[in-house]
């Protein structure tokens, strides 16, 4: 269900919110934006779409004539849209090595014309709160705990730098993920 720490079903749902698509198109866009050198197998695309359809988050149209394993065009349902919205708006649990998830969220938010800057602000807030907790723990902690807290603090600080830099580059990134201009709704 996860590749590089990113939820495949949620990412496919996000891509479907952009526009109804065939499995092939979803795989191509997933590999382009989120694959990072690790392609999504066709089998996983179709099994994920099958589960999402079973759960009422996507609807598969009738099979269209033509070549290929699956000529169904999938579209997102209201339930699927609500799930994407909730996922994007909810800050990720601040912990080291979450850049891939944040990257996927920011990219999808920009593709969908959603408030990526506000999501990043919420994430920054979650990070600062976690850093405050760790700073408080350091205050009275044993040296071993202090060193462990320091390790986490340095990683969270690196995340924050990435969040700040990405916030400053949102317009640039929007132009990359929406090369034709305004995001499709």
């Amino acid at each position: 269900m996860y590749i590089n720490g990113v939820s495949v079903p949620l990412t496919l749902l996000g891509l479907l919110e952009r526009e109804p698509s065939h499995g092939y198109d979803l795989k191509r866009d997933y590999d382009t934006y989120f694959g990072r050198g690790k392609q999504l197998p066709f089998g996983q695309v179709y099994s994920t779409l099958g589960r999402l359809a079973r759960d009422g988050k996507v609807a598969g149209g009738r099979a269209e004539p033509g070549e290929g394993p699956d000529r169904k065009r999938y579209s997102i349902t209201d339930a699927g849209r609500a799930e994407v919205d909730a996922w994007l708006a909810d800050p990720v649990e601040p912990e080291p090595h979450l850049q891939t998830i944040l990257f996927a969220k920011v990219t999808l938010a920009l593709m969908l014309g959603k408030p990526a800057a506000a999501y990043l602000d919420r994430q920054r807030s979650a990070h600062i709160r976690r850093m405050h907790q760790l700073t408080e723990l350091r205050r009275d902690g044993a040296l071993v705990d202090v060193l462990l807290a320091d390790h986490a603090l340095f990683h969270l600080e690196a995340d924050l730098r990435w969040i700040d830099l990405t916030s400053a580059r949102l317009a640039e990134l929007a132009a990359v993920v929406n090369p034709e201009g305004a995001p499709k709704q």
Binding site: R129, H132, Q133, R139, L153
Partner: protein, 238 residues
């Protein structure tokens, strides 16, 4: 302004020539709170601190301190407040390098007409609390960066101010020394019930605060939350 708020800026604007630094910033800081203002360089965060401390007069808006308008006071009255009610910790240049650490801490007290013996006794006490009691006779120009910054913190706290304004207080220090300075500044300020307003671009410094706001393009664009309250709630739930 409610009495619970010791320091407040309301819709404060300030420009330098044609360049706007603040474009309507508002913050309200509670008594005893450790409050951090974050933002990238050029965002206006230092200008906000200078307006809150009465160093700059805003072009528009109001600044309140302890129930009175600060921005409408004359220069003499604002200077009096800065000498009696406010302490300052800056990144550089606040100490007189030719004077000893004890002289530097005692100086603001002497300017406030505190008797010499009392001023130097207070300086000795605070230098001791900052862990540099043995450096009182050293010229501050000969101290390390971390020691000099501890002298600056001692000087700010020795006045028993209501508010300490700290602008990038660890900006010139390495990580470990910076942490020691922040540990001491925040622990001693909490003990004394002193409000601290810290301006920083450094998230690790902001993480010491009870509450953090972001300043961008001259506006307070985000209140990152009452981190201290959430921590307390989390601890209570453990």
């Amino acid at each position: 302004m409610t009495r619970a708020h010791l320091v407040e800026a309301r819709d404060v604007a300030k420009s330098f020539g044609q360049t706007p630094a603040l474009r309507g910033a508002s913050v309200a800081i509670r008594a005893g709170e450790i409050f951090a203002v974050m933002g990238p360089s050029g965002s206006g965060k230092s200008t906000l601190l200078h307006c809150l401390a009465g160093i700059f007069a805003p072009d528009r808006g109001e600044v309140w301190f302890d129930g009175e308008r600060l921005d409408t006071l004359g220069e003499a009255e604002r200077t009096r407040l800065r000498r009696t009610a406010f302490g300052f910790v800056f990144q550089f240049g606040q100490l007189v390098p030719e004077l000893t650490a004890a002289d530097n801490v005692a100086l603001p007290l002497l300017l406030n007409r505190v008797r010499r013996r009392v001023a130097y006794g207070t300086a000795e006490t605070w230098l001791g609390r900052l862990g540099i009691g043995d450096k009182g006779a050293n010229r501050t120009g000969e101290l390390s960066g971390g020691e000099a910054q501890r002298v600056a913190v001692a000087r700010a706290l020795a006045l028993a101010p209501k508010v300490i304004f700290a602008d990038e207080p660890t900006g010139s220090l390495d990580s470990l020394t910076g942490e020691k300075v922040m540990d001491l500044l925040t622990a001693l300020a909490r003990e004394a019930g002193t409000t601290v307003v810290i301006v920083t671009h450094d998230a690790r410094v902001a993480a010491y605060a009870d509450r953090v706001v972001m300043v961008r393009d001259g506006l307070v664009s985000g209140d990152l939350g009452a981190v201290g309250e959430q921590v307390s709630a989390a601890k209570a739930g453990r």
